[in-house]
Symmetry: C2
Subunit: 427 residues, 2 copies
């Protein structure tokens, strides 16, 4: 099933997609050149927003958690891409240890873990799941809603190597974003590859580094195919030393929100766009849509009530927010069953392997859909975002729209590669 | 639809398949190591024979001609694998020239060409089709039975570069096996990649070189997973300086056929197999199942009548046969709708991307199914031969049988890589 797509603005969007389709030999060649220079992360998922006049990534996840939501028909694509990634990172690997998040009660997340393990097994690896849960005292089988079972085993460290009982892996794949910090257990390992590297975790990673790398990627790409980089790149700014509780850094926030809104207003004027500009203020480190706020006017920041300040000050694992990203908001004009939707594209290595729509029935087109308590209704794309349909030539046909999604998602993946190359564990 | 499989002997076959499934981490690791050392051909297809007690390649085609017969669901796999191949051979390529065979009246073949072109276009390359047809004086559109059109353009050489009018490609993909010799047009090109290399064509290539390389691959692999290499490797021998018309080299043929039959008889005794051993005598260079003969006793070679001698003496493009391969025959115990069937597995780069059954309603289990005038009934595999089903653990389930096919096909692909590394254009 291809979800029904409605695009409010058809002109400029079609123009952008048509440009991607026409330029696809150039785009693919350019990307191949980039992949010679930068190593893509093992896997990633990218949240896109499509406003009709703009198609841009708003978040790039290096520990993707929704593989269970992909169309099952894409499994062979995932396996082939994973084979290519393993060949690059650790060709001699036979055994791989997967380290998931600790939340064992989230059935959706556990099905994602099972799906990742299934893909890796299909590449011919022996796969076991090592858990960071502190009080897991022995192998524990978890029943999944789909009838499968998942065996979680306590991680054991011996000298400078990590594993689970009777299993010494050559490679370790993290599906844990390290929001709680980098466990000592995982530091200074000896000849065991950790994928993605530890500094990809939120203990070290900053969204602002990612979007700075994306600036570079988007500018190079836009020059290459002759478009305004703003069409694929949300403006952003950063404030450090924020304390929402104590109202520290408010001036920085106000100034930067105003600055970003000014850039956006100017662009809207240039393109004759009548929508109301907005920015999204979010924690510079962290995930799960926590610590996120939509702002249409800088004044809103002065009048934050206690509840709003509390909401902004803490993200996953109780991490205190002191650095925030101020990102241009991109309206979502895509709707699925009359609810606002945003596409999420999944990649393994440099290959797009599928995607789905995140749908929120209770939110507006300028709101964050990855919100706590959201009604999450993933709809798998029928097409894999990697195959444009040249025969029909209509940019509004799903394969062609999805090709554009696949291109922008790969630009974000490339930005993550640049970001990881430019950052390290102990900066 | 998965074709219904019937396997007459279940014991040893299941044992072999079970061995492959159990050893899959080892197999995949070993293959990854081999691909670090050898570069797979751009694409290939492998004819397999499955006798229950033996699963072996009998022919490896480096200019595969049946992409149109694959399950359309495998298209994304083909595209991803082709992206990987292009990235390796010619990352900077934007334009690719496809050179097909000259037979423009074979609708099946032309659909194959269209399918290859479609896959390459989906990777983002500009693709044109350059024809070697000598009397093609301008661009010619051919209508295909499926409603598509194919534009054939005359090849033009300018200096040391080749192309078609207004199109200078960076890469040239041959789907022409060069049975007619290497055209001057294609020699000594300047900075244009020719894929596969010219010495992969039948003007230079010898099946005996391929199977000598396969001996090495099969022995290494068999040692790795602890099986008798004969279980996956047909015994063979070669006679050069044969002239069927003038009955030259008959003694060599008789001696070598006897020798191969002796090896097979000994093995049959060892495994308690009661089938009648046979060998297949075929041209050492050439394709399309021409110049092929089944022999159960060396005496049959002495009494060849004129018709049989004529049949053996010429292959495609009227090439005179003077070198023959004497290959152990592998019975086919697979039947589809009660007709004898042999699996054909397709690969792009080192990835299995699908396969189908070649079915012959009028032939026995020890006969060549790739025969002129055959009733060819390709049935696409529903599974891609790359995903074993570990959950069910039953080697007789189609995904697991197909995994075994995928493994043996990749061994043949590896042998082709070794063969191409060990041979060259002007030996």
């Amino acid at each position: 099933m291809v979800p029904h797509l409605t695009t409010a603005l058809s002109g400029p969007l079609l123009e952008l997609e048509r440009r991607f389709l026409e330029a696809s030999p150039q785009i693919e060649q350019w990307l191949r050149g980039q992949w010679q220079e930068y190593t893509p992360p093992f896997y990633s998922s990218v949240d896109l927003r499509n406003s009709g006049f703009k198609l841009a990534p708003v978040d790039t996840n290096l520990f993707p958690g929704g593989f269970n939501n992909l169309n099952p028909a894409f499994l062979p694509l995932c396996v082939q891409a994973a084979m290519s990634a393993i060949e690059k990172f650790c060709p001699e690997a036979r055994r791989l240890l997967l380290i998931p998040e600790n939340h064992t009660r989230n059935q959706f997340y556990l099905q994602n873990v099972a799906q990742i393990a299934a893909v890796l097994k299909q590449t011919g690896l022996e796969v076991r799941i090592g858990s960071l849960i502190p009080d897991l005292d022995g192998p524990t089988t978890v029943d999944l809603a789909n009838g499968q079972k998942l065996l979680l085993e306590p991680l054991r460290r011996q000298g400078n190597r990590i594993g689970v009982d009777g299993f010494e892996p050559c490679a370790i794949l993290l599906n844990n974003d390290l929001s709680a910090g980098i466990p000592e257990l995982l530091r200074d390992l000896d000849e065991q590859y950790v994928l993605p590297p530890l500094h990809a975790g939120w203990a070290v990673r900053r969204k602002s580094n990612h979007f700075a790398a994306y600036d570079q990627v988007a500018n190079d790409f836009a020059r290459e195919i002759g478009i305004d980089p703003w069409r694929i790149n949300p403006a952003f700014s950063v404030c450090r030393s924020i304390n929402f509780h104590e109202r520290q850094g408010e001036e920085c926030l106000v100034a930067n929100v105003s600055a970003v809104l000014d850039i956006v207003r100017e662009k809207y004027r240039e393109y004759g766009i009548t929508e109301t500009p907005y920015v999204v203020v979010k924690a510079d480190a962290g995930t799960y849509g926590m610590g996120v706020m939509t702002v249409r006017d800088a004044d809103e920041l002065i009048a934050l009530n206690r509840k709003q300040r509390n909401k902004m000050s803490v993200v996953k694992e109780g991490l205190e927010v002191s650095e925030v990203l101020i990102q241009e908001g991109v309206h979502s004009f895509e709707t699925v069953h009359e609810a606002v939707a945003e596409p999420v594209v999944y990649m393994i290595d440099r290959y797009v392997v599928g995607g789905f729509y995140r749908v929120h029935t209770g939110r507006g087109k300028d709101e964050n859909l990855n919100a706590p308590g959201m009604h999450f209704e993933p709809l798998a794309f029928e097409t894999g975002c990697n195959l444009p349909d040249y025969r029909c030539g209509n940019p509004d046909s799903p394969p062609n729209r999805f090709y554009a999604y696949g291109v922008v998602a790969r630009l974000a993946c490339l930005a993550a590669a640049v970001e990881l190359a430019n950052t390290r564990l102990d900066p």
